[in-house]
Symmetry: C2
Subunit: 256 residues, 2 copies
DNA sequence: GAACATTGTTTCATAATACGCAACAGATTG
DNA sequence: CAATCTGTTGCGTATTATGAAACAATGTTC
């Protein structure tokens, strides 16, 4: 675990531990983390003890496994409160959910990934995938395509992972095809993606602009493909575009 | 900054820094944090640089001030996903909001404070106070009173801060009066609080029980006192009690 | 505009802290 | 029951994080 930066190593190690906890693997043993991070288990144990004392992780006494703790939620709440895109979008989201009866998200770029910073859930029963805080790739999600489409080609290239991962048989990884998609997004003002990241899920997203004209967030309507497949999801274009226009105006955007 | 525990000191310092960022003061300067935490500013600067490199804080380049970063949101999303009370409650919350047209929260105890772990927003315009991740005291909030009421007197005593802070002229801090309130909560099965924590805000809360019978969360309907004052908020008792009964049943609770 | 104050960052020497090792106690497995 | 696995703890010491000082940039005051 060589640190190529001049950060405080033990803090970096703590954060690396926290980062191991994911949706896919929310619980870890000391020894698993030690293997994964190539650190001695006594170091892991000590770091976890510190994190637990501060409420950032919690140990299941029966199993000995650790999971992330509620202390993180309180901090994240403050972080979320600082996001203009979230604050300005919120008053508009309920009416969009009323209209479309599907889940709506606000998504921003963090590094080269998308992060969901708000979610208003569909009233309909469905397995939920757009949870708050979830990180997703850019090129194969509707929100991500919107967030990339309005960037310069150089910026876009820098933001795309290399190699591009194929998630489903609908994932587009061909550079020319992707560029065509981005052009289409800019022309239409929205992106539609069917099952390119997760099978059985579809989404439509449109951009929120701030007062400088930059695209700072995407508003997404998403749900199961059996409800939002081709020919069905298009009905949401008008209310989605109207919503992002209102949010963008509230952000101080003036269309040229 | 003497650590009375045997944690990793530099990690503790990083967390202490993160904890300074609150709703009341979401931005800090290096020198402010140094003063607040009695650490040298060069230590603060270095720790913040490490946290920034990992996305947990972000510096405003124009002002030089730091605020919490989106990296925390992603971690908190995983933490939230691990909370049974949140997961089990979610399918029930939209219909409760439909009925009451006010904001609904799921709240749990963390240490001796309440933390909101879910929120479905009211469709009505109002200044929002029950944000996700927000920490609030127990004794003067509806959720907190519910979460305390079903504890043993010893546990309750240990969970109450000393001294009890007075937030408004409606805050009850007299021990006998508080105990009377807790008894009332247990008899009624819900708590109603008008302006005891924040002027102009009222809330009603009821308990969610798990399969062992323990109260593990409170479901709260809250809003402005002008809409939910005495004589008005009582209309929400039946739907609230029905909702917590359903959630508790889903948690495996069987009423004695 | 000059002088001063404030800010956040960087360098450096060194002391303190975090480290890995080893031991331990308890739980699990075959 | 023995072997293995687990997470924790004590220990010596080398590595790391520290505080002081210097610095450059910005802001404030007269």
């Amino acid at each position: 675990m060589a640190s190529t930066n001049n950060g405080v190593q033990s803090i970096e190690r703590a954060i690396a531990i926290l980062r191991c906890f994911t949706e896919a693997k929310p619980e870890w043993r000391v020894t698993e983390l030690a293997d994964r991070l190539h650190l001695h288990k006594s170091s892991i144990s000590r770091i976890l003890a510190t994190l637990e004392q501060e409420g950032l992780v919690k140990q299941n006494e029966e199993t000995g496994k650790f999971h992330l703790g509620v202390g993180l939620v309180a901090m994240a709440g403050v972080a979320l409160g600082h996001l203009d895109a979230r604050r300005v979008s919120q008053p508009h989201l309920n009416s969009l959910v009323e209209i479309c009866q599907e889940t709506v998200n606000v998504t921003i770029l963090d590094g080269n990934e998308c992060v969901n910073i708000e979610r208003v859930a569909s009233p309909k029963p469905i397995r939920y995938v757009g949870w708050l805080g979830r990180r997703t790739p850019t090129y194969c999600t509707a929100a991500g395509q919107v967030l990339l489409a309005y960037r310069s080609p150089e910026e876009r290239q820098a933001l795309l992972p290399n190699p591009l991962v194929v998630y489903t048989d609908k994932t587009v990884v061909d550079a020319a095809a992707l560029n065509h998609l981005f052009t289409q997004v800019r022309q239409q003002g929205y992106a539609i993606v069917h099952e390119a990241f997760e099978e059985g899920f579809s989404a439509i997203a449109a951009p929120v602009h701030d007062h400088t004209g930059q695209v700072i967030a995407a508003i997404t309507i998403s749900g199961p493909t059996f409800r939002l497949g081709p020919g069905q999801i298009e009905q949401f274009v008008p209310p989605l575009l109207a919503t992002v226009a209102r949010i963008s105006a509230d952000m101080g955007y003036r269309e040229a």
